[in-house]
């Protein structure tokens, strides 16, 4: 049912009284004030009926554990996608959408500002069924009011999946990417943007009008002026979207820089160990574990000045 402005006002006042009268410190004066409010208008009496219905419903809610169950469930929902993967529940997971689908309700279609914290990933579904996965420390504005959603990547990295027969565009300060049915990832650096295409293709257009088609399995960087050479995608370049970091014979400094994206604070490695090589599969939800693994597999030690200031030096 649609509510009139008068009804909404009355409901707001009823909610205020609901709160007052549920307090353990109700004064007699509160009761008389409530009584006069109740009698003041028919809409108030109607609104108070709604308040009583709510009270009845809440007090009829069984089981002493109800609030515990509900707050655990809510907590589970708002946990990051990766924490749920850790718990072994990958329901709407994999390549499509994660728990972030709940956040669907939390963005308004017009130029919503959605961001993920350090070490957090968030996913969203847009109206046309396209899904966005924000990697750690990322921010986007979304305009989903038109037939084709427009996403502006302001910071970090996003994975976009566009369903069949739909389109989606992603803009960075270096250029814009338009794609039909496809799966691609866009990452914003200070001086350039990088597009990785995992399925089908996407088209990049620069402000200068230059354009280029990037196909599945290809990666390309661009700044406002031009494109880099197209490269073949590194193996498991999209592992982050599954909560993993997979590297093969990578320099330690590159590896540490990558890991540092996923944890708050300052993490870096001393020049004397920067050139060591590392391979393996690491879980991004537990960077402490990654640091412990480093110390056992390489001749390095992890020095902690504080929890947020970690340096990797020669053992």
């Amino acid at each position: 049912m649609a509510l009139s402005a008068e009804q909404r006002t009355a409901l707001r006042q009823a909610a205020h009284w609901y709160s007052q009268l549920n307090s353990d410190e109700v004064q007699p004066s509160d009761h008389s004030a409530w009584q006069s409010w109740l009698n003041a208008a028919p809409a108030n009496a109607w609104a108070w009926q709604q308040a009583e219905r709510l009270q009845t419903r809440m007090s009829a809610t069984p089981a002493p554990a109800t609030s515990r169950v509900l707050s655990l469930a809510a907590h589970g929902r708002h946990a990051t996608r990766r924490r749920v993967v850790k718990a072994g529940l990958v329901l709407l997971g994999g390549s499509a959408l994660g728990l972030g689908s709940y956040r669907e309700m939390q963005y308004s279609p017009l130029l919503a500002d959605v961001r993920s914290g350090v070490g957090e990933q968030r996913s969203l579904i847009l109206k046309n069924g396209s899904t966005l996965l924000l990697n750690s420390a990322s921010a986007v504005d979304i305009d989903d009011t038109r037939e084709q959603p427009h996403v502006r990547l302001r910071q970090g990295e996003i994975m976009v999946e566009v369903p069949e027969q739909q389109r989606c565009s992603v803009v960075t300060r270096h250029g814009s990417i338009a794609a039909g049915h496809s799966r691609f990832c866009v990452r914003l650096f200070d001086d350039a943007s990088k597009l990785d295409v995992f399925g089908q293709q996407a088209r990049v257009t620069l402000a200068s009008g230059q354009a280029m088609e990037v196909h599945g399995g290809q990666s390309c960087q661009f700044d406002g002026k031009g494109f880099s050479a197209v490269q073949t995608l590194a193996n498991a370049a999209d592992a982050w979207s599954r909560g993993l970091l997979i590297v093969n014979d990578q320099r330690l400094d590159t590896f540490v820089t990558e890991v540092s994206r996923y944890r708050p604070g300052w993490l870096h490695c001393a020049p004397s160990v920067a050139g060591l090589r590392i391979s393996g599969t690491y879980r991004l939800d537990d960077t402490e574990q990654i640091l412990r693994a480093l110390a056992t597999s390489l001749p390095v030690q992890v020095q902690r000045r504080t929890r947020f200031w970690v340096t990797i030096t020669a053992a």
Binding site: A14, S19, D24, Q50, A63, L70, L72, L91, L92, Y102
Partner: protein, 176 residues
């Protein structure tokens, strides 16, 4: 059955024939399970048929795939919400088995109640929801809620009012 229902039935069955396979294909990768996807397809069409003004809505639909996908997304979210609730339930059961020693039917009806409550409270902020549950379900005084959440009592009052307003509007607009 009145005439419009017959017309609606044929409209829906036409839509089913044309789109159910596509919808199943759309859902499967999203839920990672072909059986669950098949169940959800059925649920989507049930929702299409039982929607208020179902016939008018179908008439107005320009893009049937988009319409079905919108319903399917809602159902996926509901499904996931239910899974979370059941997991939470099991966890609490593990913590305090004696508190929840009830029959299977009671369990189902309790879970349904919890599910409805959870849906009603979903849009609220964590603190608001917590305060409301502690007060209204557990009967905790505002003073203790304030201490537990680390906020002032005035804030707790505001939380309860905010939650109550939301719940009343939700109940009125969701026919509960």
């Amino acid at each position: 059955m009145s005439t419009p229902d017959v017309a609606l039935n044929s409209q829906v069955s036409q839509l089913y024939r044309a789109q159910s396979k596509w919808l199943h294909g759309w859902l499967t990768p999203r839920v990672n399970c072909t059986h669950l996807a098949a169940d959800l397809v059925q649920d989507v069409f049930v929702r299409v048929m039982t929607a208020a003004d179902a016939a008018a809505k179908l008439e107005a639909v320009r893009e049937p795939k988009g319409y079905l996908a919108t319903i399917a997304r809602r159902l996926m979210i509901d499904h996931l919400r239910r899974v979370h609730l059941e997991r939470a339930w099991l966890q609490v059961l593990a913590e305090q088995p004696e508190a929840l020693d009830i029959s299977a039917e009671q369990r189902l009806s309790l879970l349904q109640t919890l599910f409805e409550l959870d849906a009603m409270l979903a849009a609220l902020g964590a603190n608001v929801r917590e305060a409301f549950l502690l007060s209204q379900v557990d009967g905790m005084p505002y003073k203790r809620i304030a201490a537990q959440l680390g906020v002032s009592e005035v804030t707790v009052r505001r939380y309860i009012a905010k939650a109550a307003e939301h719940c009343m509007i939700y109940s009125l607009t969701h026919g509960q």
